[in-house]
């Protein structure tokens, strides 16, 4: 066990954990940011996607020791009032069914639009391909990403 200083949503936290603890579990179990979801633990589903220095990253696949000085943003910190253009578009389109994978979807979409503000349909579909939605909300996700791109 060691002590790590990490920055989440602009706040500094000190965490005592084993070096190999995935960021996902540090966020959920140690710091109570439960908006970041556990889906597969092996980087295959995207439910645990957060931003690390602005890049969409699977929080299950990076451990606390590897994080270093990098800053983490979770769904709770994406926008102060939950009014990020992607969140607003998600609400407008009424994307979620069960809702479980949606934080990961939103974080993936937000980072993607940051890098590619006017994407083509095919670019959107490629960018969102890594995030599984068992409810099959993909059409809504595609529509909401387009809407968010337009409103940004």
């Amino acid at each position: 066990m060691a002590s790590y200083s990490i920055s989440v949503n602009g706040k500094a936290h000190t965490v005592t954990a084993d070096a190999d603890t995935p960021l996902l579990w540090v966020l959920r179990d140690h710091l109570n940011y439960v908006g970041t979801k556990y889906g597969c633990g092996i980087g295959q589903c995207g439910a645990c996607t957060v931003h690390i220095d602005g890049n969409a990253t699977r929080s299950c696949s990076i451990n606390v020791a590897e994080l270093g000085e990098k800053s983490v943003v979770t769904i709770e910190g994406l926008a102060p009032n939950g009014d990020h253009p992607v969140q607003k578009a998600w609400k407008e389109v009424d994307v979620p069914q069960c809702g479980y994978c949606q934080a990961g979807q939103i974080m993936t979409a937000a980072s993607f639009l940051e890098k590619n503000p006017s994407p083509s349909t095919s670019e959107i579909r490629q960018a969102m391909h890594g995030n599984i939605c068992r409810c099959g909300a993909y059409n809504g996700i595609e529509k909401a990403v387009k809407l968010a791109a337009k409103s940004q």
């Binding site: 556990y38 092996i42 009424d94 979620p96 409810c135 099959g136």
Partner: protein, 717 residues
């Protein structure tokens, strides 16, 4: 407030119990009656208002705002939004003034608290509207009494009771009196043309919490002193635990304890990661004497049943027999026969199974995602030998269910572990646990045969050979029952030690693929248009003497005509290939056309047209989501998913070796609901079953290949 004191009611409120004809509903009123008659309803944060907690459907605040308890578990099917809409409609309150909260599990006050079978809205349609109408009438009666006028001279607009003289009073002000009145009975409900909320596009009531990552789901539940348990279950079905060595596990930082129960070992830890690491560090010995079942073995067993005689000795039960199929086959010019196969399928809810339990001498508290709270609470009571009154169960939002959360095995594990360790505990399945300790959609084979005489169909026979389970008794009364004079359905199964269960649209999710692929083949054989063939057969059923037919021929033909028109079926764009399927299940009639293109030799579904008749569409926004989700799930199941076994061990463990449908395989989907004033039926499941057949028939159109086993992708590798 003064009025409350005058009337001798406590500020805590008052519970009004109403026994309705429709079935023992309760209406609870919370009444703070301080607002003046014409106080405008202000925009307020509904969450900040003071509502008292009652185990009932409706509470009204002093501001006239309404809290509606949604009784059923929410798995993403949208009932937490659509059920309260039914109450609010008849209560006549603006949707903006409604705060929806999840009702508790409470068998005294609520009925049918489960999620399954696409039955929520169908069963709630009358009772929940009656609940709203009853509350509204009592509020009107209270206002009329206060004004000394006849109740028939009053009506309600947006939660304000208005007398013909122009006098007005808000719901919040008369709730005290209302709660004391007789319960009116025999109320008439609104005509569909007068609906203000039903039929409107109402967004998911949990949307803000979902998009901002608020704790909603079972895995998000935490309380002080809670520990985590990850359970090592036998890696192969049929294995039993011989012994285990846990010294390395116990050395793992954060691991608190290791206990065994049955053939399982629970690692108790301060957090999930510690439990996962501790689990990996266990050494175990398993007895594999009975872990013998492999996919090849299952196939051999099922083929043996299909190839064997239709006798009890061969395990068969006749589900339905009309006319004389054997004679029809003897007399036939030709008998077309085909066997269709599905493998096992795991549910793969995005939220892995989990449950919280805190077992104390006083009571048993359970919290988590569960489709069957009543059954599960009763099983926990039985397991722990406790009175059902001592069980307190709270339902969280579910990260998917699809049938997996009907089976409360995870809640029983949590209760057992908490009972043993004397601590509140959350049992958490890893993804690997979730996929390998499932209650799978069982592997099944259908052998379908049809006889042809003088280029006409004369007989139809379906045999089902399934692992452990067979079709439910309604299915033989779906299409094509009544269409054939000679018709027979027989089923047999092989009893396996692999746990199986319901998977979204149980049985029909593959029965439709087999049947509707077969009818396409028959159309080819007879050289008739596949749609025309279906319509002729359905029309035959109208004059069938049987009263047991479950679908409505006109409604099925209605959706067929609609989808044919909307998809321009028969005239695909260049490079596109179309396939058609129609089906009835879960009380809803569906027809679908899939359009595919071949890309590098692989079929890609580009567009799906769906025409669907579910009666009145309560919430078009939610309804579209359910239908789209069902179609995508159905394509994923037909195209990609497969779980194999070797010596009882599931061969897929996580998403790297179990293929789920993803964004780039998602087609455009165009949905057409049939305009209807008929009572609504379910939508969570019915759109799923036929799409696999529509895709298969499109693949045939594109390639000339008649595929008879899913996942289809295996035929293109």
């Amino acid at each position: 407030m003064k009025k409350q004191e005058q009337n001798g009611f406590s500020r805590r409120g008052f519970l009004k119990t109403a026994s309705l004809v429709s079935g023992g509903m309760l209406i609870g009123f919370n009444f703070f009656t301080s607002c003046d008659s014409d106080t405008p309803l202000e925009a307020v944060d509904l969450n900040s208002l003071n509502f008292n907690e009652f185990n009932a459907y409706i509470q009204i605040s002093n501001e006239g705002k309404v809290k509606i308890f949604s009784p059923n578990p929410e798995i993403g099917q949208g009932v937490k939004t659509s059920m309260p809409m039914l109450i609010a409609e008849e209560l006549d309150v603006p949707w903006e003034d409604v705060l929806v909260v999840q009702g508790k599990w409470d068998t005294d006050h609520f009925q049918n608290q489960y999620a399954g079978g696409s039955e929520g809205i169908k069963k709630a349609w009358e009772p929940l509207r009656q609940t709203g109408a009853t509350a509204k009438q009592m509020l009107i009666n209270a206002a009329a009494a206060r004004w000394s006028v006849d109740a028939s001279e009053c009506h309600v607009e947006n939660g304000i009771i208005i007398h013909t003289s122009g006098k007005k009073i808000g719901y919040g002000e008369v709730a005290v009196e209302a709660a004391n009145l007789e319960i009116p009975e025999g109320l008439s409900l609104k005509e569909p043309k007068d609906f203000k909320i039903i039929g409107q596009e109402i967004g998911n009531v949990d949307i803000d919490a979902i998009i901002t990552g608020k704790p909603l789901f079972g895995l998000d539940y935490k309380e002080e002193g809670m520990v985590y348990a990850h359970v090592l279950r036998p890696p192969a079905f049929g294995q039993t635990l011989v012994d285990y060595e846990d010294s390395e596990t116990r050395k793992t930082t954060g691991v608190l304890d290791v206990i065994s129960f049955g053939d399982k070992i629970a690692i108790i830890a301060e957090n999930n990661w510690a439990a996962m690491k501790g689990k990996k560090a266990l050494s175990t010995n398993w007895d594999s004497t009975n872990a013998t079942e492999s996919t090849d073995f299952h196939n051999a067993k099922l083929y043996a049943q299909l190839n064997g005689p239709l006798t009890e000795a061969n395990g068969y039960t006749t589900m339905r027999s009309d006319g004389d199929v054997i004679q029809a086959f003897v007399d036939a010019d030709k008998v077309v026969k085909r066997i269709y196969s599905t493998p096992f399928k795991p549910h793969n809810c995005m939220e892995p199974m989990n449950f919280f339990a805190d077992v104390t001498e006083e009571k048993v508290r359970l919290v988590g995602p569960i489709q069957t709270p009543t059954w599960t609470a009763n099983r926990v009571a039985e397991l722990l030998d406790r009175d059902i009154q001592e069980i307190d169960l709270r339902m969280t939002r579910m990260g998917g269910g699809f049938g997996r959360r009907l089976y409360g095995d995870f809640a029983l594990e949590a209760a057992e572990i908490s009972n043993r360790i004397g601590k509140p505990v959350q049992v958490v399945f890893s993804r690997e646990d979730d996929m390998t300790a499932g209650t799978y959609r069982p592997a099944v084979k259908y052998q379908i045969e049809a006889s042809i005489k003088n280029n006409k169909l004369t007989g139809y026979q379906l045999r089902e050979a399934g692992i452990t389970d067979n079709m439910y008794s309604l299915i033989p009364n779906f299409f094509p029952q009544g269409s054939f004079e000679n018709y027979k359905v027989d089923v047999a199964n092989y009893q396996s030690n692999i746990t199986v269960g319901a998977w979204r649209a149980p049985v029909t999710n593959f029965h439709a693929v087999a049947e509707q692929s077969f009818f396409d083949e028959l159309a080819k054989e007879l050289d008739v248009d596949p749609v025309k063939l279906r319509k002729e057969l359905i029309t035959n059923a109208k004059s069938s003497p049987s009263e047991e037919r479950l679908y409505e021929p006109d409604r099925l033909i209605g959706v067929i005509d609609l989808v044919v028109e909307k998809s321009n079926f028969g005239n695909p764009a260049p490079g596109r290939f179309q396939g058609f399927a129609s089906y009835f299940c879960h009380n809803t009639h569906v027809a679908e056309v899939a359009e595919i293109e071949m890309e590098n030799g692989f079929p890609m579904v580009k567009k799906v047209y769906c025409a669907i008749d579910c009666g009145i569409v309560v919430n078009p926004l939610g309804a579209q989501n359910q239908v789209r989700g069902g179609i995508i799930d159905g394509i994923g199941a037909a195209m990609y998913g497969e779980l194999k076994f070797v010596d009882g061990k599931p061969q897929s463990r996580n998403f790297h070796n179990y293929r789920m449908i993803r964004m780039m395989e998602t087609p455009e989907i165009e949905i057409h609901f049939v305009d209807s004033n008929v009572a609504p039926t379910g939508l969570g499941e019915p759109a799923l079953p036929p799409v696999g057949a529509a895709v298969n028939n499109a693949i045939y159109a594109a390639t000339g290949k008649r595929l008879t086993s899913i996942p289809f992708i295996q035929h293109f590798v």
